[in-house]
Amino acid sequence: MGAEQEQEQLEKEKEKEPDENEDTMDRGYNLNDNVDILAEIMARLDGRSLGVAACVCRLWSTVCKQDRVWEALCDRHVIGGAGDPGTRSVVAALGGYRRLYRLCLGPALDRLTCSGETTDSDKQGWAHLSLSLSLSLFSIDCYERLEGKQRPASLLFLCKPVNVA
């Protein structure tokens, strides 16, 4: 009797399986179900791609707006110090990594890579310095915003088109 019941169960399962298989083949694996993995992938993108990704859908937009994604991006472009808790709290207080990248680090890196050839060690040195310089400029921007200015102008010089003469 037990064997018959077992066989019935097995047959039922066999009947189920093709259906389930069809289901999974229809659905596929959906990345949107795993927001953490999505965030991990986003954290490896560059600034422009992050901007593009944020336009895909509401979920992606929310993920891309997380500051830790931009923190990882900033971290990759500077040598040490960007990720430690002290820096993190200061950057958060001044406006967050996303704003830091958008206003300072991004344009600064664009400028530096555009302006002529630099050796690798030069680039590293500049990348390290660019964090402190970016933070200085960023703090001035934050300070201007304290006044309630709609468009603080101190960082506009970074957005000017680069003269690649």
């Binding site: 200061v90 207080a93 001044l94 600064a108 040195g125 310089l133 200085s136 300070y143 304290l146």
Partner: protein, 528 residues
């Protein structure tokens, strides 16, 4: 070569010979552009567009050339215009070669007008120096006629326009000083449209940061607070320094606000807000004074055990006087600066010689300096036209002060770095090398600002920022000669009963401090 070539050489020889033309153009501000990166190792190797020692002879030669020309008093005939009209009118108007030549001729005409303007300016300045008001007035009129035909939107036309205007004011009117709020707006626009002030702030901050290493209580005395734009970067850098931020005190000196609002206090609140958000213990104090020599050391309340930094951005030159009158206020101010034993004194000054006793020398120097300055403003293409226009007004006010005012009213008494070095050394301060970090930071800032034109150079441990190898602003650091005060000796703390402090403690649970302070607006300002 045909008609074009021969006629252009005739026109060129009518003005002056080739190299002479180069020299005059260079002197008038048409600098030759450097190609390639500046060689930073040869710090003292910058070549000025003119040789200062030859200036007097050059001016003399121009003046003697002109005395015959001005008596004739003929406006320059546009010879080439009629010639090109003859060539162009019967032909097809879309003739590229002809339009090219037309443009070249127009440029030459403008250059000639520019040279003539410079000649006129020199003659007029000389007339003013000899108190020959009649001649000066007629020359000013002539310049105005010429200016109406020249492009005053850029280049030599614009600079000449400002100087002619300044001469006009000197002859006819008295210069009205700017109100504080107007000055602040202009200063802010100048700050944003070119890198000189940013360079000054960042370099000074770097020197201050390095001097403050190891100290737990630090005090910065700012000789000109304005909107306090220098300090957010220092606050942020102190917040991030390894070992944690110190207790930072800033004393900001500035002019008293006329309309009842306490501008210094407002800036102090904003800085305190920023410091609170990045968790730096912060205190601010405002000292309102119209002149720096009215400030006395006791107002600053420097205490034992704290590292003091004195920061002066474009302020010390206001304390100079005519060399004949002694004592100069600068000496007494330097004396008390040394007296408070600062760990670092950061001095930023214009790299120019605008305090010479004779008017014509000052005028010539200013003409060259501001030509380069305006050149750099155009070169860096500021974001808005309005911003650039206001930045130019800021410079124009300086020009007017140098040209129009005398005695006590003339405050823009710029002196070159070498003279400041002697003066500060004589007062007892020792120079501090600015270091490679400051240099790299300045170079990087310039790369961000613009790719071409600006150059940072190191001279004797000081940094200068210039345009096409003419230095325009210099930053240096000094310290008082004393045995190092131990960083741990913080036993004496400023007394709490003093109502003049605004102390906003973020990490302290000490309520005693907060109750005394942030008191009524009358108490926290010392008016002099």
């Amino acid at each position: 070569m045909g008609p074009y070539g021969s006629d252009s050489t005739t026109i060129a020889s009518a003005a002056c010979s080739g190299p002479e033309m180069d020299a005059i153009l260079a002197g008038a501000g048409f600098g030759t552009r450097l190609s390639g990166p500046c060689n930073v190792t040869n710090a003292s190797d910058y070549s000025l567009p003119f040789n200062p020692s030859d200036l007097t002879t050059w001016v003399d030669s121009m003046l003697t050339d002109l005395t015959s020309a001005t008596t004739a008093n003929l406006p320059p005939q546009p010879i080439h215009a009629t010639w090109t009209n003859q060539i162009c009118s019967p032909l097809n108007p879309i003739d590229h070669a002809a339009s090219h030549v037309l443009m070249a001729q127009q440029r030459k005409e403008e250059e000639d007008s520019g040279i003539r303007l410079v000649h006129l300016l020199m003659t007029c300045a000389d007339a003013v120096q000899r108190d020959n008001t009649g001649l000066a007035a007629s020359l000013v009129d002539e310049m105005r006629v010429l200016l109406s035909r020249v492009n005053t939107l850029s280049g030599i036309g614009k600079v000449a326009g400002y100087f002619a205007d300044a001469l006009f004011r000197r002859i006819y009117t008295t210069e009205v000083p700017l109100s504080t709020s107007e000055y602040e707006v202009l200063y802010h626009q100048f700050y944003e449209s070119c890198p000189y002030l940013k360079f000054a702030h960042f370099t000074a901050n770097q020197a201050i940061l390095e001097a403050f290493e190891g100290y737990d209580r630090v005090h910065v005395i700012d000789f000109s607070l304005m909107q306090g734009l220098q300090w957010p970067a220092l606050i942020q850098a102190l917040a991030l320094r390894p070992g944690g931020p110190p207790f930072l005190r800033i004393t900001g000196i500035g002019p008293p606000s006329p309309d009842g609002r306490d501008a210094l206090r407002e800036v102090g609140f904003k800085l305190a807000e920023l410091a609170r958000s990045v968790r730096v213990r912060f205190a601010f104090r405002g000292v309102a004074a119209n002149r720096l020599d009215d400030v006395k050391p006791w107002m600053l309340q420097a205490t034992q055990g704290e590292a003091v930094a004195v920061n002066s951005v474009l302020q010390l030159h206001r304390l100079l006087t005519d060399p004949a009158t002694t004592p100069a206020p600068i000496d007494s101010v330097l004396e008390w600066i040394v007296g408070i034993r600062p760990k670092v004194v950061t001095v930023v000054e214009q790299e120019a010689d605008h305090n010479k006793p004779t008017f014509i020398d000052r005028f010539t120097e200013a003409l060259f300096y501001y030509s380069t300055m305006f050149d750099s403003l155009e070169g860096s293409r500021p974001q808005h036209q309005r911003q650039m226009a206001l930045a130019e007004v800021y410079l124009q006010k300086e020009i007017c002060n140098i040209v129009c005012c005398e005695g006590e009213n003339r405050v823009e008494r710029h002196e070159p770095l070498a003279q400041w070095q002697t003066r500060l050394a004589n007062a007892g301060l020792h120079p501090v090398h600015l270091g490679s970090n400051a240099f790299r930071q300045a170079s990087m800032l310039l790369t961000l600002f613009s790719d071409e034109g600006y150059c940072v150079e190191e001279v004797d441990g000081c940094l200068t920022l210039g345009w096409h190898s003419r230095p325009l602003i210099s930053a240096s650091a000094w310290r008082a000669p004393d045995a190092d005060v131990s960083p741990d000796d913080s036993s004496v703390i400023a007394s709490n009963s003093n109502n003049c402090n605004i102390i906003i403690n973020s990490n302290h649970n000490n309520n005693n401090n907060s109750s005394n302070n942030v008191s009524g607006s009358d108490d926290n300002r010392i008016s002099v």
